[in-house]
Amino acid sequence: MADSTDGSPNGSPNGLPNGSTRGSTKGSTNGSTATSPFERIVVTTRRGIDSEVLVTGPSDGTPVVALHGFTGHLGGEVMLATLAEQGLRVHAPVWPGYSDSVGETEIDDMLDFALHGGDVIAALGLGPSNGFAPVDLIGHSMGAMIAAEMVALAPYGYGKLVLISPLGLWLKDHPITDIFTQLPFEFPGLLFHDVAVGTELLAGGGVDFNDPQAIQRFLIGNSRRLGTAGKILFPIPNRRLSKRLYRITNPTLLLWGDDDRLLPRPYADAWSTALAHAERQTIEAAGHMAPYEQPASVAAALATFLTA
């Protein structure tokens, strides 16, 4: 999530997430709401990009890094909080363009995204570059596409890999919906099994479309988020990752909502074919946004896989 208190960009493609993980964008602080289990920190990568990271879980827990999708964090991040309750130390970086920092001007293409992901992990003091064990990676949607690229580039730099409904492949017989032509009201039906749940989650804090300033904030936030995502998803979300997937030999879990209307079953099959060693699980009653629709089921599957 990328809301702020100073009128800066906020929200998901068509609405505001709720503010349960809202906090300071500088330094380290607890979440601003009493119930939030997340600490929000800012790390500066060696490239010089300030990056926000949500952190939760026991400080001595096994670290895991979770990369969000093209909607950004929707607020609450219940799935990640639940995962932390299983004893994992969860780090959830916010991609440039999705937060107050303006690092997206440094990110032009897939390599930039993948290297930035690795840079943030290094800046967090995790992984081999800091003398520690390879860190496990979780990615969702666009975040899974980038996670797969990161591991393909540096297989020994990472441990286990969880891919939840990854973008990144293109099947000509199953062209996916163009998310860049979707009107705001169309996203819940595309991304969620339960449209009502999706509408509520994507609307979050709500945008008052009678308020010109609110519309302007929404347009700016939307432009930054999906504009940045467009660098690897527009016009077709295929940056030839398929050529490099053979390099991934890490233990991998593929997780898919059983009602993913953006990435239907042939895509899950294609990933299973490309990553023959991967375990695959289906989450029932879930669409593309399975971590938000079925956070408990997703967290349970992840915890089992990551702690095995």
Binding site: P13, E104, D108, F180, T181, Q182, L183, P212, Q216, L219, I220, N222, S223, R224, R225, L226, G227, T228, G230, K231, F234, P235, I236
Partner: protein, 434 residues
């Protein structure tokens, strides 16, 4: 003042044809979601296009005959109101068949050419063939054309455009091959061959739809800013006011020739006759040709943050376009979308437009929608003979300011004369020489 080199330069009128497809069915709106990007190509009939293209080019040539200063074309892709994906092809035909008018290509979307040196080459060819009559337009391009039809990444489009512009202008300026190491273009040997006649380069026009960065870009380089919209001059005033404010803020002179504006115009013998003759065709344009799916109009990342913050919204925005379908002829005329009527009415409204928007250049959209050829010629002739002469000397304080106009060769080739002379060459055998 230094620019007063050509006393007598006055408001310039360029006759423009968007080249709409005139055969969209009556139920087009109901059966199709967009006139642009994913318009069904089965609606295009190449056999009918043979006549359509030639008729449209005839009209452009006719405009020169009548004394229009320029004739104009532009670039759109997969678009029911513009069947001109390559304006340079049209311009090449016009360059051969005309001899006086400026050939205004408004323009080539330079981010779409790979590499953009192609634009430098083709524009140079057009300038040479026409004897120095090219006006070179460099649009960033609409989201429909640039992003959805031609696949450019929205957030990188403007960056790529700036690089293309740098490459083209440098290619025209340099006399030795050079290496260009760009982010989007790497060329070891840039060597523009041919070069344009006009030095240092043909007049450059930057068509804009509402991005405020474009104002500064024009002022940085002293290019003409051309506001192209179909919203008409009353709606256009807000944006032009912003432009002129920026001209003042940048401490530039306020020559009206810095600005151009596109306006739909229709002239008849009387106001009533104008409605009778043109209403159905102009309504065809607004109701069918501007039926653009809202999801194509504003992909995230295309518009810069500062433009969003400025609240300057493009006339092509979906919400604005949807309004068009509900407009009546009276709405179109009263709202300034269309300047139509008898000569006196048109003169009055043109004067109001030229004065309030501070225009030195007007792009006259005089063929609209499915308007038949004879009506287009009738309207064009009336404008040229009865309206245009009354609008010439509206900026006496800037008389002679030709910084944004063509500088053709005095002794340039006229293709009709040279072809005739070539046939009569004394050394040709009699039968070959006819």
């Amino acid at each position: 003042m230094a620019f007063r080199t050509n006393v007598g330069v006055a408001v310039k009128f360029t006759w423009f044809n968007l080249m709409p497809w005139p055969n969209l069915p009556d139920d087009f709106r109901e059966k199709n979601r967009s006139v642009w990007v994913d318009i069904p190509s089965r609606l295009f009939d190449p056999v009918k296009a043979n006549r359509v293209y030639n008729e449209y080019m005839d009209q452009l040539e006719y405009a020169e005959e009548l004394g229009f200063d320029g004739i104009g074309c532009n670039e759109h892709h997969q678009n029911g109101y513009g069947i001109m994906p390559s304006p340079n092809i049209i311009a090449a035909g016009l360059a051969r068949r005309t001899s006086k008018a400026a050939i205004c290509v408004i323009g080539n979307s330079i981010a779409l050419y790979n590499p953009p040196i192609r634009v430098a080459e083709e524009f140079a060819m057009l300038d040479c063939i026409s004897g120095g009559r090219l006006v070179a337009g460099f649009p960033v391009g609409t989201p429909m054309d640039t992003n959805f039809c031609y696949g450019q990444i929205p957030a990188l489009t403007r960056d790529k455009y700036y690089e293309g512009h740098e490459l083209i202008m440098r290619a025209w300026a340099e006399d030795e091959p050079f290496a260009f190491d760009g982010k989007y273009n790497q060329l070891r040997y840039v060597n523009c061959w041919p070069k344009p006649i006009q030095k240092p380069h043909p007049p450059v026009y930057i068509p804009g739809g509402g991005s405020i960065e474009t104002w500064d870009f024009c002022l940085d380089h002293d290019y003409n800013y051309s506001y192209l919209s179909f919203g008409g001059y009353l709606a256009g005033k807000k944006l032009l006011d912003g432009y002129w404010d920026q001209v003042a803020a940048r401490d530039k002179d306020d020559s009206p020739y810095r600005a151009a504006f596109a306006q739909i115009i229709a002239v008849a013998d009387s106001d009533a006759e104008a409605e009778e003759l043109y209403a159905e065709h102009i309504l065809y344009f607004f109701n069918r040709c501007l039926h653009v799916y809202p999801g194509f109009s504003d992909p995230p990342g295309y518009r810069t943050i500062s433009t969003i913050k400025a609240g300057v919204l493009d006339q092509l925005r979906a919400e604005n376009m949807r309004v068009f379908s509900n407009l009546t002829w009276k709405d179109l005329v009263d709202g300034g979308y269309v300047i139509a009527g008898g000569p006196d009415t048109v003169i009055d409204r043109m004067k109001e437009m030229i004065t309030t928007l501070r225009l030195g250049h007007v792009f006259c959209l005089m063929h609209n929608g499915n308007q038949p050829d004879w009506k287009t010629r009738y309207s064009t002739k009336l404008f040229a003979e009865k309206v245009m002469p009354q609008l010439r000397n509206m900026w006496p304080e800037y008389d002679g300011d030709d910084r944004w106009w063509i500088h053709p060769l005095e002794d340039r080739v006229r293709a009709d004369e040279t072809m005739a002379a070539a046939r009569r060459h004394p050394q040709l055998p009699t039968e070959a020489a006819e």
